[in-house]
Amino acid sequence: MKRVILAAASGGLFGAGLLVSGMTDTTKVQGWLDIFGAWDPTLAFVLGGAILPMLLAWNMTTRRAQSLVGVPFPSKPDPRLGHNLIVGSVLFGAGWGLVGLCPGPAIASLSWGGTGGIVFILAMIGGMLVATPIRVRIDKLAAL
């Protein structure tokens, strides 16, 4: 039960932060990516602000045996990059620029995002479903 309550607390604060920061406004996101247009630096403050508490949190994980609910902390990050990380990040960035929504803000704005917001989420879910067979194809190509 504690696990589910903590997850809800995290998701709720995440949603509030996304709304407050402007991440749910596609014009602000596209304004940040559009360095050759009317550039909007707000997102630099969002990312910078978000990294600060997490620097502390990762530091705290080194001094604790496990998380509050008893689950061990995530293992060390994989140093290998791999082609899927690059291909995936390029595709994700292209879609993020095209519409101005990434997964978190898309879900957070569900209640006021209208038809466009719902269509985006459904298309994203569709993309996630076909990602597995696409990964298999890319791995085959990379092995050639």
Partner: protein, 143 residues
Amino acid sequence: MIETDWIWGLVGGLMIGASAAIFLLGNGRIMGASGIIGGLVDRSGLSNWDERLAFLAALVVVPALLLPFYTVEVTTNITQNLWIVVAGGVLVGIGTRLANGCTSGHGVCGISRFSLRGIVATVFYLLAGGIAMVLFRHVLGVI
């Protein structure tokens, strides 16, 4: 950027970072939006479906409860062109699953632990987003 936008960006960013800290220190997990959704979509994360669903439900409900406190109309300003919306959504869905993370997982949680994967992913999706703006806004003029 209008007057106080950067302050709200910073405050909201701190809230986002604090929410990721709760998930990490509380549940021992990386707060990555695409991973939390994707694990339910492709059924790879059903073992802790309750955690994922609680996270996503609160992610929808809490901002909705904050809307009445806004004196200006809150809108996503999303494009009216649904073909663009579908293309963007599909790209985000495929891309985040291939890369195993998005802005929150790779950007917020990855960079803050100096993960090479998180940093490289962030560089590539920012570059791709910037190129998409040049191509689709300034060259083709479709967004």
